[in-house]
């Protein structure tokens, strides 16, 4: 099977075109794509390497789902609407069974996100996946990291720490199942929430490296400080059934890869965000506020300070 047959069979299929129509898609030197008038292109790139970000012996459809979800989550964090993605797939060999599984997982996630495969590259080498996600947002309406202001509330969607706990279960047993493992394999990009937050949130980030580290990006870009209440971090009952509360809180603060949104809101928008949460069945929790000295402080309920572990460091 040559490169072009491989692309034709596993990637140039209707199931991978859940997004907007393309002027030119797979099969030319470039894809040609239409950004809606008055909107800016939003683009983000992520690489996942076997042995670093996932285990090479994981199921291909899971690897695909998780890779695409992680990339699309960056669009969500900007309040962008997903459009297309390019896939650079490096494979040690062209294994039809693996490719069929990968293609199915990719199609499943692409459908859930309403995004189309526009192009990419397949090459031979150590297994890795690089995804370039593209979308759009109205001009100058994207949610950046740099607008948080003293007095803003800090909120987070969903629950935190589930993915970190799921990863531990998978590390111990590749066949592990259940809610926590699913949150690791099939994180949900919070696209609708991101778009709802446009014109409301002053800053937003997705929780990929760990809450403390990702909120730290907002604080650094916005040049401000934050106080968080440890006992207000949203923890799922599945997580609390699996590990101690202290361990669950550690995962929530430093675990990463939950792909929930952490955002800052002026106080007058907090009530409507909580109402939105009720309507959309996606929990949103106020976990602290912007203010005080630079840096992030996390407080136990007894008023002593919690010391977070470090978030994920690639080098």
């Amino acid at each position: 099977m040559g490169e072009f047959d491989l692309i034709k069979r596993y990637f140039d299929c209707p199931e991978l075109r859940a997004g907007p129509v393309m002027s030119i898609g797979i099969g030319d030197d470039c894809a040609m794509l239409d950004i809606p008038q008055g909107c800016q292109l939003a683009v983000s790139s992520d690489t996942l390497v076997a042995g670093t970000h996932f285990f090479a012996d994981m199921q291909a459809h899971q690897i695909a789902q998780r890779s695409l979800a992680a990339s699309v989550s960056d669009l969500a964090a900007m309040g962008a609407t997903p459009g297309w993605f390019n896939l650079c797939l490096t494979l040690p060999e062209a294994n039809p069974q693996w490719l069929a599984g990968f293609s199915q997982g990719l199609a499943c996630q692409a459908h859930a996100c309403g995004i189309s495969l526009a192009g990419g590259d397949t090459t031979r080498g150590p297994l890795s996946i690089s995804i370039h996600a593209m979308g759009w947002a109205p001009a100058d309406a994207a949610l950046s990291r740099s607008g948080a202001k003293t007095g803003d509330a800090i909120l987070v969607s969903g629950s935190l720490g589930d993915s970190a706990a799921g990863l531990r279960l998978v590390q111990a047993n590749r066949q592990a199942q259940g809610y926590l493992v699913e949150r690791y394999w099939q994180p949900t990009p919070r696209l609708a929430l991101g778009q709802w937050l446009r014109q409301k949130a002053t800053a937003c980030v997705d929780v990929s490296d760990g809450l403390a580290q990702d909120l730290g990006h907002i604080l650094k870009a916005s040049v401000c400080g934050a106080d968080l209440q440890l006992n207000q971090l949203p923890l799922s009952s599945a997580l609390l059934a699996q590990v101690s509360q202290a361990q669950a809180q550690d995962y929530a603060v430093s675990g990463g890869e939950d792909f929930e949104l952490c955002f800052t809101l002026p106080q007058h928008h907090v009530a409507s965000a909580l109402a939105y949460a009720q309507d959309s069945a996606l929990p949103i929790t106020k976990i602290g506020s912007i203010g005080g000295e630079l840096g992030c402080r996390i407080w136990h309920s007894d008023g002593t300070e919690y010391q977070p572990q470090c978030g994920y460091q690639h080098f």
Copy 2:
């Protein structure tokens, strides 16, 4: 050195912002970019893996230059104007000397192409480089592969086979120098020619996998055939000084990675293309014509048919 320090030091620098201003660049979840009104986004992704596409012991600045040139060449082949690129860099270790060389080579090529680094990802793993090049072309004016028609002339820019010969020299001796080696390390994306060809060429492709294979993409997409004259393929004097004419012709037909443009033109545009070549000091050569049965035939001057080797196959 952490990931964020590494990005700050080697990639978030003015030398890598030779393209249009960015609404949001490096340092947020997505870059936010403005496509000029009335234009479509052109996007292409390429991965280069150490051991497959280049030798890991090559100089970092050369690897960077060649990687970016290869990606931007796809924009040239569509007639697009370059804007930005995302870089996914997977490294076995954060070696400051290597990173400094890579950053310099990248900046040099980015400046030559007028393109800005908008974002990307740095991860740990086996050395590989994935570049996502973005640009724009007026709506529906991009050069696709699918418009070639019977009677069109087939033309090619520059000379063919130099890069393949340069690669052989580098394989034998990493310190090899000279014109052929330079054509391998520093191919020139034919951006101005690509833009000039808009509204004139009926199909266009860049020569990355080898002339026969890349022209084959045009023939397949356009559902037509072609006849090429072997003795009309443009060969540089440096190439003919290095290898026999027969070897030079083999490299020209099947060598790949010259990143010249191969395009089809209605006969009434051929004279103006040759005049453009004179004005721009970039040779353009007519090498054959579209017509006859499906597939590509290459003819010796004695009327017998030449049998090409295969172009590059990833799998």
